[in-house]
Amino acid sequence: MIDPSALLLDASLATLFAAVPASWGGRRLAYAFSFAGSALLFAAATAALVLGPFTALSYGGPFGETETLGLDALSAFFALSASVVWIGASAFSLSYDERPGPGLAQAFALTLGSIAVLFAAGNFLLFLAAWEGMTLASFWMILEATGRRGPVLSAGLVFLAFGEGSTLLVALAVAGFHAATGTFAMVSVLAVPVSTGIFLCALVGFGLKMGVAPFHMSEWLPIAHSSAPSNASAVLSATLTLAGVYGLFRVISLLPAGPDWWGGVVLAIGAISALLGALFASVSEHVKGLPAYSTIENNGLILVAVGVALVARSQGLGTLYAFALFAAFFQALAHAVAKGTLFLFTGYVERATGTFDLNEVRGRARGRSPGAALGGIVSGLSFAAAAPLAGFVGEWMILEALFQSYRFEGPAFEFLGLLAGAAVALSLGLALVAMVKLVGFSLLWNPQDSPAGRRQSGPGPPLAALSGAILALGVGAPWVLTFIAPAIRGLSHQALSAPVGQLLDMPARWSILSGSPFGILSPPAVPIGIALGSLVALGYFFLGGRTASRRVPIWVSGRAPSPVGETYTSFGFSTGIRIMLGSLLGTRELRRRSGGITAVAIEGPEVYNVELEVLDAFKVLYDDLVRGGLALSAALKRFLMPGRPGRYLAYVLITVLAVLIYLTAAG
């Protein structure tokens, strides 16, 4: 008898790939296929989580290995998270993609398909192939931005370079597995020395895809510099990074509990990424660059949770290990759904206003599509950790896990936990600034003089549905945790239940417990509390409570507000951060007569515009590396290939001699 879950997965993969040929029948048809395929994947993943793991397909592959396609609890969780994003992104693309050719639709479908295969792969060879396919397909997707030359191409090439570097390291990790186990099947490695090598390769390889520091260029550059299409950005930023998280968890699940410094390294990388990402997000003026930086932050947060989990595992802290894993998974899920939504929202902003500069958007995305606006606000609030949305629960769990880092053994780890906690808290605060800026300057603030944007009806329903999902994930967090518990059980090699329980007289499963004697959060109680509070406020208002408001002109250092209208720019909004954290951001002041972002006009003998330029130290480092590498290769070229035939003959001779010597020595 055929397993119905297996059938679902087969159908899903077939439909996802069928979207490519379908694109010749029209782009919308292709997106409809992607939509259907994603929905089927959602069903298959749900089945795997509820009914247990299954194998959909197995066949003889190269090297005499059996290749399998199937889902176990771990991959089902990630497939589920990704499919939610894809369903929304495909539905959104139906109205978004107005390009002449089918290229974007094809690249989109291929990316979705290869990520799905990646999740379903039961064997490392297939995993690697899907990983590479995913990189190439998404490279194509980036090239589908407006024109394939100039900044788009170079941004795409940066993405490709980081992507291939990642494939290389992942391949090394896979080779390590093969060396240790003698097979490409996903079986556990028991020896510690080789697993350290595997772990480091995997960490860097998957970290490259997650866009964590110091590889975060791979995340923001292609999205921001090329202004990649928004549906592509959503898939890149929400699910490509999710694939990285999946890969990391897959590898961790197969490795023994390593030394505790593994976790320390992950924790440090995560904390730095979170802080850097949030910092740069808060000063970004690019409608897409800002969420791309926020992705760096969120992946950093996920790594922080993973780091806490790894340290806890090495030091035998069972409860904390499980809780941190739950935190990482929940944050991964919350981030994927909310980030997909936020990028689709930026697509709507881009269409409504025709610009990527937040200073130019000036609230013009307002009132053009209520559903899309809802999506932007809800996903932005979720990243700002507003209760009771998904992001709030995820970030609460991560902070709770960090609070318990005092349980770590050794002052170094306790101190690391403390520092990471401070970095995470700071990054959460900065994320709030970033989100207020993005959502506020695109939707909420509308100066009188800004022209109306384009009305759109297409993006409303998918975005509204996704915001419903974000809310549901947050409010129903205890149920979600229980639902995804099988995925975490697979990682802990022991029976464990979701950290949900009973609080006071509330029913069981109404609250999340972070381990005794520690924090308790009841996500379902939060909206009830908010509703009651609002009722009190409304009651006060309607029962004749006094409210006083007075409108005053904007304060511009006592000057008369300009007759053309003073505007509060998005640049001005975060200039405080640019100045206060100037040492971290490398802020430089540029004085210009015109051009750039007109930030501050200082009146004096002369009027000039000040632009505060921020600098990503890592980008400078990479630029220097590239320059150095190019210079080195040019020098080598001059030295090794001077264009004299005599030299080349000598090379041939040396090679022949070397081969002869090797053969005689070996023979």
């Binding site: 007075r550 304060w555 250092s557 006592g558």
Partner: protein, 253 residues
């Protein structure tokens, strides 16, 4: 260990105890206290001669307008001495007039911000001062006076302030921004005028290009006389506005 840590322990707490303890003579030195005419002198004659000498018209033939005095000490040649009761403030310029040149009566200004509790934000506007008043006002933020211990801080926008602190004689170009700043203050709000210039123009009264007195432009709630007043005088003024001065702890004359 950095030397300043050890130093901090050796020296102990230096911050002023005002307003829990009365201001000391060092905190409000003689020269920053108002001039008084000691009893026992030939009042009419002294006042007459001093009135000719006084550069600001603070001394008239029959009394002393404390709000106008710039502490130039010229009147000491005629028998006035410094060291009157300090820390006086008033809600009307007339209240700073002492007939006969004696010490000012003990009087507490109004407290329009009494409902604000322990938090008070000040927005300082220099309307045209010689900068001495600015320095005395901003001295409240230093570790000695440390107004923040009393919940008093300086803010950078009138939108965040409770008190508009004005120093200096209003020059014509500042009048409009002053009005805008007052307008931008959320209520309940108060205006505190610091120094002789902000009271009636001080030494610069009648100067072309200026428009004294300030109270014709803004509804001033409290005047703190002096040229410049000492930081504790100013602190007492701010606390008076908030209803946190029960009585004027003037330095004994």
């Amino acid at each position: 260990m950095p030397s300043w840590i050890g130093q901090a322990f050796r020296r102990g707490i230096l911050t002023s105890r005002f307003p829990r303890a009365p201001a000391s003579r060092e905190e409000v030195p003689e020269t920053s206290r108002p001039p008084v005419l000691p009893p026992g002198l030939e009042r009419i004659a002294v006042l007459g001669r001093a009135a000719d000498d006084c550069p600001t018209g603070a001394i008239t033939a029959d009394g002393l307008y404390h709000g106008r005095c710039i502490r130039c000490a010229r009147c000491t040649r005629q028998g006035f001495t410094f060291g009157g009761r300090a820390l006086a403030n008033a809600s009307r310029p007339e209240d700073l007039y002492s007939p006969g040149g004696g010490p000012l009566p003990e009087r507490l200004g109004p407290a329009p911000l009494a409902g604000l509790g322990r938090s008070l934000q000040l927005f300082l506007v220099d309307a045209g001062s010689c900068l001495a008043c600015n320095r005395e006002v901003l001295a409240l933020a230093n570790p000695y006076y440390d107004a923040a211990r009393l919940g008093i801080t300086f803010v950078n926008s009138p939108h965040h302030a409770d008190v508009l602190v004005v120093v200096g004689i209003p020059t014509r170009p500042i009048l409009e921004p002053l009005r805008r700043a007052y307008e931008a203050l959320p209520g309940p709000k108060a205006v505190l005028a610091i120094g002789a210039c902000a009271l009636e123009g001080g030494l610069f009264r009648g100067n072309p290009g200026t428009q004294a007195p300030l109270y014709e432009t803004l509804p001033v709630d409290l005047f703190v006389p002096g040229c410049p007043p000492s930081p504790l005088d100013i602190l007492a003024g701010v606390l008076t506005l908030a209803g946190r001065m029960k009585c004027l702890p003037g330095v004994p004359a």
